[in-house]
Symmetry: C2
Subunit: 480 residues, 2 copies
C-alpha cells in the first residue's frame, strides 16, 4: 500500500494534494480527458458553499435563473476581446440528432454572450433595471493541463450577470459582489483573501475592469478565488442591450459579471490541510462532528451506545452536522485516522469510563494530538461543541492569516524581489507599465495577482522594476 | 395588444399554455433551437421543487454528486437497447480546443453509462453497497418538436443512480423512489398522480422495468411526471459493476435510476391554471402572499403603508414567502391582474378602511371573485394566512382529483374505448399483448400510460381490444 500513502506537504506538495483529493473521497478522475467526478463528500462540501453564497446573493437582491448550455458560435464573435480570449478553449457541438448542424454550437465556457442576447430582449426601460441574475451550473473550457478542482475542463460555478442604468451603479455592483466573495471566504471558509483589481494584462476577456480575491496556499502560491468584472458598455454594444431612460432617450446598459467556482475547494484543501489530510472549515464541513464509540465487549457496547445515541440526537437537534461511526469491522484507531483524513473538525470519543464519569473526549482536528484533546461533561455538549466549532474557525483563520502575512515580503530591490517571489509574495510599488509586469513574469514566473484595494500606503513610491514613479503597490506572486 | 392576450383554455388550450408561460415570466425561448431560458420566476419555482425533492432524497439515505456532462460515444454502445433508444437524440462534440477529437463526445442525454463506468471503479465489496447517489443538472436530447418545459432539447432534472447487492433491494428502491415522486406531487404540487408500471413498449431504453407517475392535464391528456427504472444486471454487465459478496463470490450489482424534471412545471401549469393565468400550489409558489396597499393620497398612504409594512414583516417572520407590491406607477387593479396571472395563492389588500377596522381583505387565487374573498383581523394574520395556504392546497388537490376521476372512463366495448380516449382516459382490461396495445395507438393515438399499482380489481377480465383473458387493468390515454 506504500504507493497509496499520502506524502507529507514538505516532501511533495503537488502529490500530497492530488492523493489527498482522491483518498479523502472528494473527487475522482472521469473517463473524459480533463474532467472530474465530484464524489458525494466533495459535492456536499460544494452544496454547503453554495448555500453560504446563495444566501448572500439573495440578501443583496439577486435571483437565480438558467440559461442554455449551448451557445451559437457566432455569439462569441460579437465581442472581439471575448472571442480572442475564449476561442482556444471552446468545445464545439457540430452534430445533433444525427445531422450536421448549420451553425456549430459551443458548450458554454461562460455565459456573457447568451445572457447579453436575452437581456437585449428583456430590457426596454429604466424601470426594468437593474437586472440582477445569477446562475448555478457548470461550464467547459478545453484545458490542456488539468488538476482536480483547480483546473478541469468542466467545472462547477455560479456566474452572476447584471445590467444597470449607469456606470457608477455597475461599478458599485462589481465591488459589492467582490465583498460578498471575500466575506464568504473569510467568514465561512476561513481563508483570508486579499481583494484587489487586476492589471490590464490579467483582466477577463472583454472587461473594462476585473476585480479578484487572492488567497495564499501553503506552498506560497496564489490562488485566484473569485472574480467580479465591470464591462462598461462593451457587451451592451455587442448585444444591443439598450433602455429608454427617464428622459425617453435610448442608452446602453452597463453590465457586470462575477464568478466563483469549485476551484475554491482546492483553496480550502491547500490553505488548511495538513500531513494527516484535510482540515475542513467548520462552517462548510460536510460532517462537523463525528462520534466514535469505544468498547471491548457487548456489556460495554450497550452502555456506550446508549450515551453515544443520546449525544448524536442532541447534536443533530442543535443543527450540528453529526455522524455516528458505529462500524463494527474497523478499530477506533482506524476510524480516528479515517476522519482525520477527511478533515472532520471535531471528534467525540465515548468509552466506558466516559459513561461512568458523565463526560466525553473531544479532539480538535486543527490541533492534532494531546494538545487538541479535552474532556468535557456530557451535559450541555451541543453548546460546548458549537462553541468549539466557532473557536476552530477563528483559530484556522488566524493561522492562515499569520502564515500569509509572514510570507508577504517588501523587497528593497528588483534582485530581492526575484528572490522572495520564489517562495512567497512581494508587495511592491509598480509604475503601471505592462513592460515591467512582463519582465517580472519572464524572470520569475510571478505575475501581478492584484492591485490591493486595502492596505495601500499613502503617497507614492518607485517601481520595484524600473524605478519610475509609482502610485500603487501590487502583489507579485506565482499562481495556480 | 390583442395578439398578446391570453386565450381561454376552451378557445385554444395549447396557445393558452404557450402564451401563459411567456406572459407569466416563467420561461422564454432561447436563441438555440429547442432550448429555453428559465427566467427567475420559473427558476424560483424549480428551486422550491428541488428543495422538496432533495429533502425527501436525503431522508431516504441518498447523497448528491456530480458526473461530467460529456460522455465518450463508445459508452453508449455498451448497452444495446440504450444506444438504440438514445442514438437519434444525441448532440455530439467533435472539436475541442481547436482540434478534432479522436473520439467524439456526447453531451449527456442521461447518465447511466458514465455513472456505471464510475461505479465499476468504486464498488469492490458488498460493504460498498448500496450506493445511493443523485445528481441535479441538465441533459440534452435533440428533440424536433419542442414546447417550453414539456419537451425541450436541454432540460433540467435530477437523476438518481443506485447499485444494490440483490434484485429485491433494487426493486424496492425503484418503488421507494416512485413513492417519493408521488408523495411530492400530491403533497407539494397538489397534482394527484397515478403510480404504475410501464408496458414493454413504453419502458426506458435498457430497463427491465420502468415505473411512472401519470397526471391528467385539464385538456385530459396525460403527462408522465417522473419515472423510476429497475435495470436488473443490464448496466452492471455492460459496465462490469461487480462486487465480492459475503462468501467472497463475484456478483453483478442490480442497478436503478430515477428522474424528475422541469416538465413537471408544465404539469403544474396545466393541472391548476385558469383563464386568468397560473394558479401556483401554495407549498411551491415563489410568492405565497402578495400585499397590495390601496390609497388615494399621501395621508392615506402613510397610514396604509404603516400597516402594510407591519403585516409584511410579520408574514416574513412566520416563514411565509411574501411580496410587497408598492409600485407607484400602476393601479391596484393592474396589480391584481398581474399577480393573478402569476398565480400567487393569497392576495392581501390593505386600504384606509382596513386600517381603521384593524382588518385586511384576503383574496384566494384558486377561488376567483367575491366567493374567494374574506375580511379578517390584522391580529394573528400570519397564522390566518398559513391556514389559508393549507386550505388552498387541499382544495386544489381535491379539485384536480375530482376532475381526473370524472374523466377516467370504463368503456364496455372497444368502440366505446375509442370514443372516450378522444377526450379522457380509459381504465380497461388488457391482455398484455403488444399487438392490442399497438392497435389502440394506431386507432386513437392513445397509449398505455401505465398499469396502475393501486386500484386494480380482484380477479380477471377480458381484454378491451381482443377479448382474451386479462390479468390487469391499464390506463389508456393520449399523452404529452
Amino acid at each position: 500500500m506504500a504507493e497509496d500513502k499520502l506524502p507529507t506537504r514538505a516532501e511533495d506538495f503537488a502529490e500530497w494534494y492530488n492523493k489527498l483529493v482522491l483518498k479523502s473521497d472528494l473527487a475522482d478522475y472521469a473517463p473524459v480527458r480533463g474532467c472530474m467526478v465530484v464524489k458525494p463528500y466533495g459535492w456536499t462540501l460544494w452544496e454547503n458553499m453554495q448555500a453560504g453564497l446563495d444566501r448572500r446573493f439573495k440578501e443583496t437582491g439577486h435571483v437565480n435563473a438558467a440559461f442554455p448550455m449551448l451557445i451559437p458560435m457566432s455569439f462569441f464573435e460579437k465581442e472581439k476581446e471575448h472571442v480572442e480570449g475564449f476561442a482556444p478553449e471552446l468545445a464545439v457541438v457540430t452534430h445533433g440528432g444525427g445531422q450536421k448542424l448549420e451553425e456549430p454550437l459551443v458548450v458554454r465556457p461562460t455565459s456573457e454572450t447568451i445572457v447579453g442576447y436575452m437581456y437585449s430582449k428583456w430590457i426596454k426601460s429604466y424601470r426594468d433595471l437593474p437586472v440582477l441574475i445569477n446562475q448555478w451550473g457548470s461550464v467547459l473550457r478545453w484545458e490542456l493541463r488539468t488538476k482536480l478542482f483547480l483546473r478541469t475542463a468542466e467545472f462547477y460555478w455560479q456566474e452572476g450577470h447584471t445590467a444597470h442604468a449607469t456606470a457608477e451603479e455597475a461599478q458599485e455592483e462589481t465591488f459589492r459582489m467582490l465583498d460578498v466573495y471575500a466575506d464568504f471566504c473569510i467568514n465561512d471558509a476561513a481563508i483570508p483573501v486579499i481583494k484587489g483589481v487586476k492589471t490590464e494584462s490579467e483582466k477577463f476577456a472583454g472587461a473594462m475592469m476585473s476585480t479578484t480575491i487572492e488567497a495564499m496556499m501553503q506552498d506560497k502560491r496564489a490562488l485566484q478565488s473569485g472574480t467580479s468584472h465591470y464591462f462598461g458598455e462593451n457587451f451592451a454594444k455587442a448585444f444591443d442591450i439598450q433602455f429608454l431612460d427617464q428622459t425617453n432617450t435610448l442608452q446602453y446598459c452597463h453590465t457586470t459579471s462575477w464568478g466563483f467556482s469549485t476551484r475554491v475547494i482546492g483553496a480550502i484543501i491547500m490553505t488548511h490541510g495538513d500531513d494527516q489530510g484535510l482540515v475542513m472549515p467548520p462552517k462548510l464541513a460536510p460532517i462537523q462532528a463525528v462520534i466514535v464509540p469505544i468498547y471491548k465487549n457487548d456489556a460495554e457496547k450497550s452502555k456506550v451506545m446508549e450515551v453515544a445515541d443520546k449525544v448524536f440526537f442532541e447534536l443533530k437537534a442543535a443543527g450540528i452536522r453529526t455522524k455516528m461511526d458505529d462500524r463494527e469491522e474497523v478499530t477506533p484507531g482506524f476510524k480516528f485516522n479515517d476522519w482525520e483524513l477527511r478533515g472532520v473538525p471535531v471528534r467525540i470519543e465515548i468509552g466506558p469510563r466516559d459513561v461512568e464519569k458523565g463526560s466525553v473526549a473531544l479532539a480538535r482536528r486543527d490541533v492534532p494530538g494531546r494538545e487538541g484533546k479535552s474532556f468535557v461533561p456530557q451535559a450541555g455538549l451541543a453548546s460546548t461543541v458549537s462553541g468549539l466549532l466557532s473557536e476552530i474557525h477563528s483559530s484556522m483563520l488566524k493561522r492562515a492569516s499569520e502564515f500569509r502575512d509572514a510570507n508577504i515580503h517588501d523587497p528593497r530591490t528588483y534582485d530581492e524581489l526575484k528572490e522572495v517571489v520564489a517562495n512567497g509574495w512581494a508587495f511592491s510599488w509598480w509604475c503601471g507599465n505592462a513592460t515591467c509586469e512582463a519582465r517580472v513574469k519572464e524572470d520569475t514566473k510571478a505575475t501581478i495577482r492584484c492591485i490591493p484595494l486595502e492596505g495601500q500606503p499613502d503617497g507614492k513610491g518607485r517601481c520595484i522594476v524600473c524605478g519610475d514613479e509609482a502610485d500603487k503597490k501590487v502583489i507579485f506572486g506565482r499562481a495556480y
